[in-house]
Amino acid sequence: MGNMQKEKVSPTERPRFACILIPSFPLQALLRSNPSFSSKKVCVLDGDIIAFCSSSALASGIRRGMTIAQALSIAKDAVLCNCPPEVISSAQSALLDIAFSFSPLVEPIQNGTVVLDISGTQQRFPSVFGLGASIEAMCKKNLFSSVRVGIADGIKLSIVTARAFEGVSVVFKGHEASHLSKAPIESLAPSQALLAIFKKLGINKVSDLLKLNPKGIGTRLGNEALKLYLLAQGEDNTVFNPITPTTTFEEALRLDYSLEQAEPLIFLLSSVIERLFVRLEGRGFVCSKLVLSLQLEDKACHVIPLELPRPSNDIKTILQLFKLSLDKNPPPSPITGFSLQATPAKKTMAQAHLLGPPEPEPSSIDSLIVQIASIVGAENVGYPVCDERKYFSGAFLLTHEPSALPSLSSEVSEQSQKPPVIALRKFNPPKEISVLLRDGVPVAIEQGYFRGHIRQCAGPWFMEASWWSNEHRFGAFYDVALGDGRILRLWHDLVEDKWFIEGVYD
């Protein structure tokens, strides 16, 4: 923030646009997707020529415009590679997400440059410098190591400001000429022909252009030069064309080698998920579904969808779930790259009671459910849903959405005031037994752990249920007390004439 202008401004004079510019965007996109490159001498190629080089490559003497052979003769350990289009696309999406996390009105200018309308952000950011610093911090969080933020009252002005100065720069209305005069002439982005003329005339800075007589600029240097002159004076009538916020979040990684085992893939996946979730969190979302597309050596694509029981951004648990999915459904051939697409969902909100006990945060419960689901499976964790039609079969489902369940009715509350029954601890599945009968009444259990003489017996209670379906049950219940004090519930299946222990009263 070296060029911050500490000038007082009234709210009406607050600049309207901010430009986020990532210098050497292909290089930063590559470093973002491969954090291990950060300490290496990395150069991004454009054909056979070096287009961008990292600070360590610059320090070793490599410069833009060198050939591969020249670069390698200077530093043998230099990493020279092209930036894959999917990596550029992921980085550009991340940049748009950063912009959308500050304003709903965003226009992408080109790869690595976006402009956002910052009007209406006074409540959240009373100072534009604070806003600029927050944008810079958010970019750093999204693994963009170098960022320029230009804030001005016009779209092109904000772009020029971002191009001209390092860090966060703010140009207030009426101070454009004085502020931009220090900027190099290249920051106005003149055409190559006009730039050559400027250089020939010794116009190296914007201040040199501003010294010229405006009446002669149009006739001598052309319409383009006049437009640049007016822009440097602060005249910017560019129309703002915002785009609709995207709801797809995707990160991709292409490998220079092929992976055959799950462990290294999980390791790489963790950094990709981390990047993806930083983007989601920036937009206030959590992840509800992930789709992992593995590019295989034989050019095929192996897709692994992962539906989360509850929306969650818990990286550790999601990695565990991916590991389980990969074990169940391994890719048929080695992996050369992958992309991960996340479906966003809104964070679960809940209204707490004013006087009731403190409620847990819904997103933390969601996270816990996902964690347990990764251990026991999503179908084995949740809130029980009792379907009265399935009472006799004892079947029930678990839902992950407690608000979908009916609230406690007054009828149930009243019922709970009555003396409760002793609980039946069910056997799952019911144990089949053989029973000795006398006059049609069970008198002894003949086998197994529950063998013994039946001291007392209550029942039978006949029951026929689900006769309309395949789960038809017809039989009789008995409650029996054994000599040693155990009280069991027996089920006599009258269709197949079999006896079962349903459970034990406990």
Binding site: V381, S413, I422, A423, P460, D479, V480, G485
Partner: protein, 229 residues
């Protein structure tokens, strides 16, 4: 009257409560809702500690009913409960009959190996969402509760202030300290000749002094004049 006397005798023998920690230590507790049990436990199941309901291999002792009654009581008051049903023996319809608020019961069900169940337990107690966590493994022969696991769970419980209630056949080996053990004797059923139903004693509580095996919410057809053993 004979039945009533026998009930009184049973009540006299229940509950055998003992504390492993200093008896004067004041602990915040999660009430079970059974006044007599809460009185005996000093307010309920202690927070940040492990409580065990066991019955020395008796199949019918009432520990499951105590747990279900406690869960219903807590959820009705607006508390949250987690139930790890490691042997698949919980019938949620019963919880509903007891008047539990199902939206406040996070259930982990299914027969699962010990290692998995203990992992789930550790994960749940780490989150301080719940007033009580019930870990039911009555049908298991034994629980391998190692001292290191004991230490980890206790440390987490103390931080999260959750009461952990274990329902087991017998006291697990390896549980060393800071325990609240409730040993329950077997249920003693009584047969009501007039109504052809079992009656029984269950702690010294008017709500539990008599139980009926079925509630009237479902249609059963007792045969008039049937023969019973």
């Amino acid at each position: 009257m004979k039945a009533r006397e026998e009930i009184q005798k049973i009540i006299a023998s229940i509950p055998q409560v003992r504390w492993a920690t200093h008896p004067k230590e004041v602990l915040k507790a999660v009430p079970s809702g059974i006044p007599e049990l809460d009185r005996a436990l000093g307010g309920g199941f202690p927070k940040g500690r492990i409580s065990i309901l066991y019955s020395d291999n008796f199949a019918s002792s009432g520990r499951f009913s105590i747990a279900i009654y406690t869960v219903s009581n807590i959820t009705r008051e607006g508390g949250n409960v987690a139930w790890i049903d490691a042997d698949g023996s919980l019938d949620p319809y019963l919880l509903k009959q007891y008047g539990a608020d199902m939206r406040r019961i996070l259930l982990v069900k299914g027969r699962m190996p010990q290692k998995k169940a203990l992992k789930v337990l550790e994960e749940i107690v780490r989150h301080a969402f719940f007033q009580i966590v019930i870990f039911s493994f009555v049908s298991w022969k034994n629980l391998v509760w190692t001292p290191s696991l004991n230490l980890r769970v206790l440390k987490t419980l103390e931080q999260s202030r959750i009461a952990l209630l274990l329902l087991c056949k017998q006291k697990p080996e390896g549980l060393l300290s800071n325990l609240c053990c409730v040993a329950l004797p077997p249920l003693k059923p009584f047969f009501d000749e007039r109504h052809r139903l079992f009656l029984g004693a269950f702690l010294d509580s008017p709500t539990f002094s008599i139980f009926l095996p079925y509630r009237a919410s479902y249609t059963f057809y007792p045969i008039e004049g049937g023969k019973y053993g």
